[in-house]
Symmetry: C2
């Protein structure tokens, strides 16, 4: 990690820049695959699955038998761990249910909101070496609480056409309604346009590589909503003298192992802390299986000395990290000052991996500075909040004249007339 001493506030914005990503122009490829899937449906999906994933799939839909077989294969201690995580995620996301609350804005004018689950949602789970079954929980559980009627999961099969058992187990636990063996651009295309096998959905969730990210962005052209813009994962840790440098090092490394393009930032008001953490990082890195990735990530990463913890918080607000850890006994004192972050971990025992798996908060969060303008995934992401109003005759008499004046001033006379015709009727009653 690069060590930076007391940078001037004028330099902070520059220090908050993410490593620049190679921009691949995937627009043409994405457009071609969407057009093909729209025209040729399942045949196109299977063609690209064979081409990109090297897997021949006769049937895209995962069968009941395959699911049952997978469930039998998952070790019972992993099942129990998943159930523990599920219970916590369920509890926290259930607390996000918005109760109906009627507001009488003027006598006789009642307004309220009601939430409805998005009827059909798609969940994308990447393939690759690590089976991200935790993401199945993070997306499937709020979908279930929201009352989404169809929860369609797509995930690429391995070369033998098989999906990792833990992913299938997690899907069965959270009530996913159908699972398809398809990944990449062709999965997003199938969810966006619909095929004989894969239903068209209204919103697509889930992480993925640059191909999946480009496809999700393109899906907007088919009136499909998506969860969040994608970017590499990141953590910012603010540590003071009350931190445990070994813990801080472990937290930074847990983020660094995500990928060479991840970024970790350490801020402190105490140079001894910076040095102790850096020393602990060196020691711990050696023992990690994903050491190569970690070392590359640390090249993008910075440890920065800043005057005070309050100023560290100011810096963090400019950076707008996906994950923010405040490694301090006084962590809670700084919470009010945080304005931009995806998820915040307060104190020396609130490690980020708790939020990644099992504490209950969601791990689908805004990266790349998007914490300035986006919230992470929550129950809100799976519902629409519909406004309702019920206006009585008296209510309309109360607010009608204001509506008539405003509509006339906007030169919308038919808008005005919808009120006038009612008020006249009431005069004649």
């Amino acid at each position: 990690m690069q060590k930076i001493m007391n940078p001037q506030p004028a330099e902070w914005e520059g220090l908050c820049q993410r490593p620049e990503l190679p921009i691949a122009d995937l627009q043409q490829l994405v457009q071609q695959i969407f057009t093909d899937v729209k025209k040729n449906g399942d045949a196109a999906v299977k063609k690209y699955t064979s081409l990109f994933d090297g897997a021949v799939t006769d049937t895209l839909k995962v069968s009941e038998a395959e699911i049952n077989e997978a469930i039998a294969q998952v070790p019972s201690e992993l099942k129990e761990a998943i159930q523990t995580a599920k219970a916590n995620i369920e509890k926290f996301h259930t607390s996000q249910i918005e109760q109906k609350q009627v507001t009488e804005t003027t006598a006789g004018v009642n307004c309220w909101r009601e939430s409805r689950g998005i009827e059909k949602v798609g969940i994308y789970i990447p393939g690759g070496s690590a089976p991200l079954f935790s993401t199945v929980l993070m997306l499937g559980i709020p979908a279930q609480i929201a009352g989404c009627k169809e929860v369609i999961m797509c995930t690429p099969p391995d070369k033998n056409g098989v999906i990792n058992p833990a992913i299938l187990y997690a899907a069965s636990v959270v009530g996913v309604t159908a699972i398809y063996k398809v990944g990449g651009i062709q999965a997003i295309a199938a969810l966006a346009v619909g095929t004989d096998s894969v239903p068209k959905v209204f919103k697509i969730f889930g992480p993925g590589n640059q191909y999946v990210a480009a496809a999700k962005q393109y899906a907007v052209n088919y009136n499909v909503a998506t969860d969040l813009p994608a970017g590499p994962s990141e953590v910012l840790v603010i540590a003071d003298a009350t931190c445990n440098p070994e813990f801080v090092a472990a937290d930074l490394l847990s983020q660094a192992e995500h990928g060479a393009d991840s970024q970790v930032i350490l801020l402190s008001d105490n140079e001894t802390v910076l040095d102790a953490v850096n020393k602990a990082i060196e020691k711990q890195t050696d023992e990690l299986p994903r050491k190569d990735i970690v070392v590359k990530c640390l090249l993008n990463s910075k440890s920065i000395l800043i005057n005070s913890i309050d100023e560290c918080v100011t810096f963090s607000n400019i950076y707008a990290p996906e994950h923010l850890i405040i490694a301090s006994d006084r962590a809670e004192d700084y919470a009010d000052g945080i304005t931009s972050a995806g998820s915040v971990f307060l104190g020396n025992y609130s490690c980020e991996s708790a939020g990644d798996y099992a504490s209950g908060t969601n791990h689908t969060l805004p990266t790349n500075g998007y914490a300035r303008n986006y919230s992470g995934v929550s129950l809100d992401s799976f519902v629409k909040k519909i406004t309702f109003q019920k206006i009585t005759a008296t209510g309309l008499q109360n607010i009608g004249p204001a509506i008539e004046i405003m509509a006339a001033a906007e030169q919308l006379n038919a808008h005005k007339n919808a009120v006038t015709i009612r008020l006249k009727r009431l005069q004649n009653v």
Copy 2:
């Protein structure tokens, strides 16, 4: 309006198609203007303002003096109407403030959310014949309640470089922090990239023509969020024998006057109601100043006879209207069945124009079927909900083993280690 009798449910999806819009390929123009504004700043903005709006603007920012002059020009009855609307919109959006609520998911594991206003937001108000000051209220008021620090408004000037006084008055009432005389693609570009005059913002709100819509979509490439995908306005009315056909006709017409590409739909279980409404439409249309627009809109519009009001609701859920009026004494009985709509108006005195101006609900709503996957603008649109967690040593002992098992199964050993190192330390205490 086209009259359709008892269509089969298999035909409903087809009937719910919106009139096809001419797709203008504006990508190249948008890209060119963004690049120019990024490179040449205010000079480029002024150039396009002269080119597209025919207005020469020395200074983009509206001065204090101009605002004061405008305030003096607005008739006092319009000021009072705006204040009435403001009070109601404020009351309803204040009711959307989410209280902090800590959930202990497991003993020692506390999770909660806190809302923070998006620091810098941009509000776009279209120009043209009708001054849409009501939209200033609908976007400015929740921004103020959310605590957005900078609320930047852009709106095109007329040929004399002047902005409608009612727009400036509304902006002053809702605490807009700066107003710029710029419209169209160049306004969205300025808000997305920032110039010497116009600050870069994190999220852009507001309606606009196809140029503005294309620019908002393109702004995503500059990490800027936007409120909603755009589309022509629309209303669906479900009316039964207890409706007042004159009222229903007035509501349909108040939507139809928005534009020739708007769409209005009438559903009823009663043919006499359909005929009475159609007759009332003919009568009322003649008296409207925007008669030409209304007549064109009605060509796109349908009145449909359906077996029962419950089935009308089912049809409406497929259509997913921006505005849904249930013109019935029993309107509230049908509310539970509504799954997709932007804003719902229950009963014979809840006219849509009430929600457009003064009842308190927001009028920035999902069109074109987007009510299937988007909510309308609300306080939520102006905040980020940040998750927080505070885990005690005991809390980590409770959930730590589950995290270790899950992280190991996902082959993320550094994630596991962040827990292990803490649990070991606790064993040694």
